[in-house]
Structures are given as structure tokens and as C-alpha cells.
Amino acid sequence: MTPALALTALVFLAVALVLLVTLAIRRIVLARRGRRYAEAVRRVRPLAIRLLEGEPLARAELPPGDQTVLADVLGRYARQLTGSDEARVADYFRGSDALARSLRELGARRAWRRASAAYRLGDMGCEAAAPALLAALDDGHRMVRGAAARSLGRLKHADAAQPIVEALVSGRVPNGVAGEALVELGPVAVPQLHALAGHSSFRLRATAVALLGLVGDSADSPLAVRCLGDPSAEVRAAAAGALARIGGPAAEPALCAALDDRIHFVRAEAATALGAIGSRAPLPRLLEIARGDRFRPARAAAQAVARISPVALAAAAEAPDAGPHLHEAADLSAL
């Protein structure tokens, strides 16, 4: 046994020494790399700002290393930009080495390289990257598909709505990423969302209606109103939330009816939506709910009353049967 232990000890000693050396080298390399990158960022930042302000910039003026850093900096800025500024960033990247390299890296062996490339392509804003990104939605790795969906949203590529919805349905892309991409796409995603609202999965129906609330308009109100009658409470609650944003002539009566839903969180969402719409007609029912319903709808109803009519709230809170929610809403409203 002792020789085996001695051998193990020697192996462990060697491993410990290797780790120590790696730690030292890693620290030196990282420190040097970080310093160089920071210096390069300092050098190219004025160029990036000039470019965004509309000055022409020849790519050949920069050494290849600085071009990569400039691409990083512009990519970061591009996330905050819209309109002509965003278009200028796209113009810079169109036909650039950075674009070509990122497109090549979509075929890299390592998933993180493919995901990074897909992500960068979205920041570059070049429509030319869209076909490759659409193909990347079928990548074998979830993070690559997620980065591709996000970038297609940023590119506002109209043809991406259907593939992204399909990726959402099959679970190939995380819910949040797919939802955010569809929101970025905006109204062009509405037809696909209408179709998704008829899916057999209640979770997907709820997601579709919630997204319609974000990207749709009053023309989509009838669908949301129909969804208030869905067998699934999650879908009804999402429909109430959507109607709070898109409104429409049939929204208010449908939401008033939803105040009598048998599921408490649907009543809560309906109350919140009515508070956002602001009509005084549902006040009596909202006050009734605020006085005697379960916690969540009662709080939502009291807050809705506060939004619709602070005066009515103050009066109701003085009543002996007002209850804690109306008291709370009145005190908060008075601050």
C-alpha cells in the first residue's frame, strides 16, 4: 500500500506544481492582454465616435488588431442606437473583415465561438448576415440558437418571425430570448403570433397573447378578447394584461366580465388592466373586489381604483368595511 501512496503523493505534487505555474503564467498573460486591449479601446474610441457622428472612416487606416477592437466598440455602441446612427454602424461593417470573420465563425467547432459570432452579427446590423443567422437557429447548441434569435431580432429581419416562433414552440430557444426577439421584430411578427394563439399548449397560447400585447395594436383586440374566454387561466390572465396595453372598443366590457372569473389571478390581471384603461364604469365592482376578494385581486383592484379615481378611493377608504387593501391604497395614494 505504501508504494502506491508514495506514487500518488508524487503525482499530486506534480499536479500542484503545474497548477502553480499555470496560475502564474495565466496571471501574467491576462494582465498583459487586458492592458493591451484597454489601450486599444482608448485609441479607437474617438474613431468610433467620429464614425457615429457621420464622418467617413477608411478601414485601411487602422491596423488589423485595432479593426477588431473597433468592431467590438462599435458593436457595444450599436446596442444603444437606432435610426441613422445604427445604419452608419451597419455601413461600416458591410463588406468588412469583421463581418466576414464572424460569418466564418458561425461554422466554428466550439459552440461558444459560434454563439459569440452570432451575437456580434446582430450588433453589426448587416442584413447580409440574416441567412446565416436563420441557419444558426437550427444549430446543435442552445446558446448558439439563442444568440442567433436575438441577433435576428436586432436586425429586424421580417422573414425571421416564423422561424423564431417555430424555435419557441419546439423549445430550441429560451422563452425570454425568443420573446424579446419577437418584440424587436415588432408588428411583422403579429400574423405568426395570431397563429400561435391557437396552439394546443396553454403556455404557448399565453406567450402569444402576452407578446401581442407588446407588439400589436387595437386591431388585435378581438383576438385578445376571445382569449379572455380561453379554458386556461394563464391564457385569460395574459389576455387581460395584453388588453391593458392594446385596448380596443370591446376591451372594457370583456375585462369587466373577467372581474368575475373563477380564478383569482385572472381577476387580478383584469382589475389591473381596467386601472390602466381608466374608465370609471367598473369602479363599483372594483371597490367590491378590493373590500372582500382574495389578497391578489383585492390589492390589484384597490390599486386600480387609485389610478382611476383617487377621490373615490379616499371616500371608500373611510367606510367602516373598507378593509386593508383600500386603506393601503389610500395611504400610498396620499403620499
Binding site: L5, L13, A16, L20, A115, R150, P174, V183, H327
Partner: protein
Amino acid sequence: MSIVQALLWVFSWLAFAYFIVYGVCQITFTIIAWRTLNRYRHAAAFTPLDEVYASPFTPPVSIVLPAYNEEAGVVASVHSLLDLRYPRHEVVVVNDGSTDGTIHRLREAFDLVPVRAALRTRIPTAPVRGAFVSRTHPNLRLLDKENGGKADALNAGINASAHAYVCAIDADAVLEQDSLLRIILPFVDDPDLVAAAGGIVRVANGAVIESGRLVDFRLPAGRIARFQILEYYRAFLIGRLGFDSANAVLIISGAFGLFKREIVEAVGGYALGTVGEDAELVARLQGHLREQGEPFRIRFIPNPVCWTEAPADVRTLSRQRRRWQRGLGETLWRHRRQICNPRAGAFGLFTLPYFLVFELLGAVIEALGIPVVLIAWAIGALSVSFFLWFLAVSVLLAVIVSLSALLLEEYADRRYERGRDMARLVVCALTENLGYTQLTAYFRCCGFVDLLRGRHDWGVMTRQGLEPPAEVPLPQRRARA
């Protein structure tokens, strides 16, 4: 063979088997941690926090901060929480019957005024005496309740929270600016799957903190705190990532954890009568969610960072470790039916036995080793060369794990930029087994004894404070002046 020799023989083989299994676990955890942290490091390049911040899918979060006699630092803590980079969050401070000026300092600093509040009653708590809302920060609320302990205060905060996600944090903890955005990511990606998540806790001793934000990362001057930095690296960067990979996390630190409120309510909130309420809650969630039969995840995420003050002296360290040991023992006892239960999945078959053998009983085995070696040597039953090689292997394994943790930190986060600081941590890794490990093993043994004796109190944590107390005088003092 005499009885003593037979006992020594049994113990030495048990210790040997213990060491082998422990070593295999540590090496496996380290390999998993390498892979996972590598993934996180690369993913940082395409994790758009700006977009998460702006996304309509990022849900609002209620942060619950229990405070008992925290007048020295509570104002700074609340300021740092209010300043967190997050689209919609509220801060619910629960004054748990403090006997100092906690409530006065908060009221003055944030212009808190009394309101009539509607509180849920699903989780019973000690009576709430009053509620306050800030006129300057509408997303800050204060509950004033009778003393009921930390778990009770957290439960009261959960009852008062307005949002569906609740983040529990310690009053002395400092969250990094984007830590909430980072910890919410798995919930945004898989809202139906993820039930709870914990972030990484780091030792703040020595760091420079201004207005509730860490502005400079430095090593503490004291050795005790430095050794703990290394311990935290090992526990979080290696241990918890390993358990996370099997969806078998037991501990989401009380210093920083995010939960779906509905699920916490469904299991009855934090348990009273235990000093390990954080692990106990996670164990109950694991059991409850497995019983429901729906897929779920309880996550450990290594990049949302929470900084906390570690004990800087031996006495405080002793109290903390004894309390942790008791808390772990109480949790394992309460959930003994899940231990080695196939229905509890990897959590029951691996995590709980691991904590039972290596964390709870491990201290006793380690402490027993010293007298056993001495007895064996005295009666001539000790093979000195075997013992010395065994000692060398076990110390080297510990050194390898510690160096791996340092290297992982270097790859993943690299907070201590000064080369001198990293060199000091390497020295800690090399010297930890020359006294510190034995000291903490002794404290854990004492905690085990406390557990057997049924001790329930929290003990006093002496804190030096992470930054100077806020300059808000108490009303009485001002009146006297």
C-alpha cells in the same frame, strides 16, 4: 489482535475509504467546475445585460432584508439595494424587534412614513407592529415587527412583498450592481422550470466600500479572513457548481438567494427553530417539487456576486462554524427521510449523504484522527512511513483543490488584480493545513456536540462593519445636542 488494535484497524480503513471517496468527489467537482465556469466565461461575451434590463420579460423582484440591531450599516445596505441596476424592484426591510436605533436611522434616512398595510397571512409570523413607506423612494418599505428571529423576519418580508420573485439577502451583504440582473436570467429563460437560484458569496473584508458599492478589491490584513476567502472559493466555485450540475443543490446562501414566492409560500416559508434556515428551505423545496412530479431546477449561478463580511477573529469564527454545523445537522435530521431515498433523486442519493458524511460527520472523523494516530503510535501499531505518505497525499489533495479554486477564480472573475494578493492567497492554500483546517474541524466538532445537546441560539456575531456607519444621528441625540 487486541480489541484496541482491531478498533484501530477498522478506523484506519474507514478513514482510508472516507479519504478515497472524498478525493474522488473533490476531483470530479473540480472537473465539472472547470467546464461550467469556462462556459460562463465565454457566455459573458453574449449575455446582453443591457437587453435584459430593457426587456419586458424581466420580472419585478422584491428584495427582503431582515434587520436585527443593524443600525451601524443598515442605511448603507438599503442605499446599495435601491441603487441596484434592475428595471423594477422593491426593497422590503423587516425590522425584527431591534433594540438599537435601526428603525430610527431608516426612518430619518429615507423619510419613511407610517401607512396602513395589507399583508398576506399565508405564512404565520410574529405580530407586525407597523409598516412604513418612503416618500423619497417609493420602492422602499419597512415592516416593524416583534422579534421572532431571522426566519420569521424573512417570512414577514415574503408576506409583504408585492412581486412574484423574492430575493432574500443579509443585512450586512453588499450586492454587486448587476447581480439581480444576472440571477434573474435563468428565470427569464425558463420561467416554468427554475424555482430558486443562489449567487456566489465572496468575502468583503479588506475591500474598499463606498456608499454601499465595492470600489477596490483588496485582501484583508488578517489571516483568518484570508483563509476564509479560499474556503468560499472552494465552496462556491467547486462544490456548488458540482451539485448544480446534478440539480441537487442543498444550500442557497441566506446572504443572497432568489425564489419564486408562490413556491416558498406553498412549503410554508422559512422554518423557525433552526439556525440553518437557508439550507432547510432548499431541502424542503427539493422534496416538495419532486413530489409535485413536474420538472424543476434549483440553480447555483456563479456570476451574480454578493459580498459579505467574514469573521475576522477566532472567537467569531468559532461561533459561526458551530452555528453552521448545528444548522446543517438540524436540516439533515429534519429531512432524514430523503437521505439515500431514490425518490429524492440525486439530491437524496448524493447531496444529502455527501453533507452527512463529509460535512457533518467529517469534522468528527478528522478530529478523531489525531488521537487515533497518537494511540496507534503509542502501542506500536502505527506504520510511520504509511502514515506520513497518507498525510502527504491528503494535504496535497487539499492543496490541489485550493489551487484549482484559485485558478478557477483567475479564469472566471479575477477580482484581486494585484499580483501580491494572489501570491498571498497561494500561500494560504499551501499553509491552510498547518493549523487552520484543524481549528475549523475543532469548531465543527463543537457544533456537532451543540447539536447533540439541543442548543438552539444563534450566538453573537461580532462585526467590524464593511464601511463607516452612516452619518445620520438619532433623534434623541440630536435633541440633547
